[in-house]
Amino acid sequence: MSIGHTLLALLESGPRHGYDLKRAFDEKFGHDRPLHYGQVYSTMSRLLKNGLVAVDGVEAGGGPERKRYAITEAGVTDVSQWLAQPEKPEPYLQSTLYTKVVLALLTGRSAAELLDLQRTEHLRLMRILTDRKRQGDLADQLICDHALFHLEADLRWLELTSARLSRLASEIGAPGRPGPGDQKKAGA
């Protein structure tokens, strides 16, 4: 999972302090592995250096942890590009995909389109493996089958998530509906 993109997307709803970002991240995505403060600040320094966030204000008392960060237009574009880019199909993608779906809902982008795009990418690889299986020997068939079953599990998860988008949107308090009509333009 890309922590940078996740923190960036969480900033779309408004400027936040580093500790706020960590709390939001842990609450939504860090059930098993909460972020370390160090990770947050090193990530924010990198985003700052790349012009994807700006310092929106510094509270009295100083120290890096008192900085409030705001996402820049370049940052919004970067989030859009990341969400629109399907993940390379491989087993156990759920945590990255789940994060992307939640962030798409939270930022008013189309989670349905994101899932469709990922589904296409998965099926494309499944077709390649099926074709390899047809032409290969038994060893090829067994190796391809193993990958195909894992990809199929991902696809089933994608379908199930598509069917549950409205419920997920209301549970995480996302604005608007999750359909394609709500897609937010890059840089908007």
Partner: protein, 228 residues
């Protein structure tokens, strides 16, 4: 836009059953020799789409053309003839006649088309061989396994050398291995004879045997591979 060289094309199909909308502006096209998977959840309209495309159920509105002919305006008799001679069908269950042997089942479409028994059964045997079930030709459907029965059904669908095969969840009742074999044999045979296959399935691994995928959602179609 309709891709050039399409064999079967549907545009803006609408179909309602009572107050339920099954199709709401669905579109579809397929080339000779192409395998297109139609996917979607239960109740999405995918089976209704297949039934409209095959001329089994007329759409309420929209256009439907097969090989340049208007499938909607066609007489019932002509449509039935087309289904018998140019289309082949494979369903999930109950498609073989229980009183006939497997060979007789496969020969049936040829017999209905006026082919003599001996010639029809000879062709049927060749198809049973191709589907690797020639040894059960003399048995009745109740005496063979689900996977064998489905191969017989595939042989029967292909015996008239149809130009389009409609397969509705053809592996739905089979275990993984039998399902894989049926899909392999069905798509191999269709590709060899340049038949187009409309494959309705909710199983991703079955859809992976296709060249292209159409997703049906709330009666509307989305050509996933062409939109990326």
């Amino acid at each position: 836009m309709i891709p050039a060289g399409s064999l079967l094309v549907a545009e803006d199909l609408h179909k309602t059953y009572g107050r339920t909308t099954a199709l709401d502006g669905a579109g579809f096209s397929i080339h000779p020799g192409e395998v297109v998977a139609v996917m979607g959840s239960s109740g999405s309209g995918k089976s209704t789409l297949l039934h409209c495309l095959a001329g089994i159920v007329p759409p309420d509105s929209g256009t439907l053309r097969y090989d340049g002919q208007d499938l909607v305006a066609m007489t019932d008799a002509r449509r039935s003839a087309l289904r018998r001679t140019e289309f082949g069908f494979v369903f999930q269950f109950g498609q073989l006649v229980p009183e006939l042997t497997c060979t007789e089942n496969v020969a049936l479409p040829l017999r209905l088309a006026g082919v003599r028994r001996r010639a029809a059964e000879l062709t049927a045997l060749q198809w049973l061989e191709r589907l690797e079930v020639e040894d059960i030709g003399h048995q009745r459907p109740s005496e063979v396994s689900g996977g064998q029965g489905q191969r017989v059904a595939v042989a029967r669908a292909l015996v008239t050398s149809p130009r389009v095969v409609f397969a509705d969840e053809p592996t739905g009742a089979l275990d993984t291995y039998s399902g894989e074999r049926v899909m392999q044999l069905l798509t191999d045979a269709a590709r060899t004879t340049n038949a187009a296959v409309v494959l309705v399935t909710h199983e991703p691994r079955v859809a992976a045997y296709s060249d292209r995928e159409i997703v049906v959602r709330d009666g509307r179609t989305r050509d996933v591979d062409h939109t990326v």
